[in-house]
Symmetry: D3
Subunit: 135 residues, 6 copies
């Protein structure tokens, strides 16, 4: 039976939604308050789900300490207490919507996981808005 293990983490960041190919009016129309030039911010809450068979020796799908360390090094240290648009390579040219942030995190983590394990990411931008990938 396949079992999924989920680990929660979090990071606090500023961002601005903006498409440089559009003029200011179009940006304000589409992104509203999220287009505020100086940015705003969120407490991003992240859930990383890893799916696989239980290893009979350990009783685990994946070592949670290792997974927590991976998330800390690859996600939290990269994005925590940053302005995503201004301080990170990933979002210099990519609009930091919750959707795009989740996909970027999924790609960052995917390469560090053995291929036989499944990976899903859920990202809360606020307690009322969140995204999942892959859906």
């Amino acid at each position: 039976m396949k079992v999924a293990v989920i680990r929660k983490a979090h990071f606090n960041a500023a961002h601005r939604l903006h498409n440089p190919a559009w003029d200011d009016d179009r940006n304000r129309e589409v992104f509203g308050l999220c287009n505020n030039p100086n940015g705003h911010g969120h407490n991003y809450e992240l859930e990383v789900k890893v799916t696989g068979e239980i290893d009979p020796d350990t009783g685990m799908v994946v070592d949670l300490g290792w997974l927590a360390g991976l998330i800390r090094r690859e996600v939290e240290q990269r994005f925590d207490h940053k302005h995503l648009n201004l301080d990170t390579e990933e979002f210099r040219n990519l609009n930091p919507t919750a959707e795009n942030i989740a996909v970027v995190i999924w790609r960052i983590l995917r390469v560090h996981l053995p291929e036989h394990l499944g990976l899903h990411v859920r990202l809360y931008e606020t307690p009322r808005n969140f995204v999942e990938c892959p859906a």
Copy 2:
């Protein structure tokens, strides 16, 4: 990659579980306290999940402002601060169990969403009981 976007909303309503084809004893046996003739009530917490590809121009699967407005108009204004059995067309002849309320909300929202987007609804009747559709 398909991504899902989830928006939370809520409404407060009264309801009574009752099957008019049954006599009072059978109703009390099946529905217990939920069959109380004058009704009782809940803070319904709703999660609406929309699934699709990310639009490269906006970085979004669906505009959250539009989705929030749709839920407000079609769900909250219809059910909030109502007695579901007595004040709404949808549950005049349909038992307002959490299961049926979720399916009704899914059908209401489905016709307003483009066909290429997936739709799932999760409805919390209490923090301890909730339903999802389609499962």
Copy 3:
């Protein structure tokens, strides 16, 4: 040192805010949607706080099993799955606002507690609105 012990409980009920001394327009103006004639409802979440010295024999301020039983008998069985205005003595002639419900619960519980113990009640009408008494 005084220590407080808090126990959570919950009940689901319908209610209607209404002042029979006012006409319909005044009621609608003051109570808005909460004046809906057929009522609406909530998942009331209750926190009962009892304050006193720790008994050195038990290490407890009050036995939590006893307190949980008291709340079940005196509050939950009285109000759970009821329409407060129509099904309870307490709110037949008293407007069931969160403030009034909290005071009623405080008075019900107060007579069952030894005098040397303090009592406070917090009542969530929704996750976003709650009251405390005495303040």
Copy 4:
């Protein structure tokens, strides 16, 4: 349309992660603090999801009172306020990781459910670590 109904429950238990086939050093290396000989403990929060068609007579997939009673008898009374390794048959020879506990609970409940209903279990070991099965 298939609908899922989810019921939450909880139990508080002690456990120790340990593989008797390994020496102490290997156990400490793999399980870290969770290998503490005298054990530690958790508030396990359980979500049981049952999936099926809505019965048109009741408006329900499964009777929640029956489901809550099943979970109480089969899971809570078995594991609540126990040391899982020392007080239960299930984990006398099985490492009580969250993964294994979830699978054990799934197997216990599966035999009590009609075959046409689906069953999934989510188990929170802490608010930050949880598992799902089958994934």
Copy 5:
């Protein structure tokens, strides 16, 4: 008996902790990651507590609709989706720590409340860090 009524609200904002009277090294030493020049951000969750006697005509301490509107106009519209240091008058020359933000919100709201009502503010900067004033 005095009763307290609490209303929750929220706003999302960016901020930077910085004391212009100090050099960069001292700022980094005291504020750490929170001193990041481009700022970071939070989902601020706000609880506004108003304390007083229950009005016997309404059963309320204060009208929650009025209170929610006051918070929306005076707090949310001022701070939501803003960079507190760059976009608001209040924090142009005041370090936007959670403590200072809470005091500023308390002062803004205080002048709009009748004198006989008490006012307390709780502000969550993250789910793990929050402040209350007056304490």
Copy 6:
């Protein structure tokens, strides 16, 4: 104006409620399932509240990084992943009720805080039972 700053932390531990001055029957009668000889366990969630004036140079009552480190060293490293009765000095001869644990934590932290700052502790034994001291 006095302001309070609250920091959340957590630890997972096993415990057993037991009074060695009583016989087994009396212990089972008073402590019920919590008297299980092999213990059970909890995810303890801790809130440490520090109260004082805002330092005008930092905008803070107390440095949250310092406070978090103090809690980690003095509380988490002492109690996390331990059996409180068997693995800690503090509860070798003191019944580890939530009340006693909270008072012990308060005393441990009190000596590390400057005298002009107030200190309160809230400890969740489960999401439904918690204590505060001093009350």
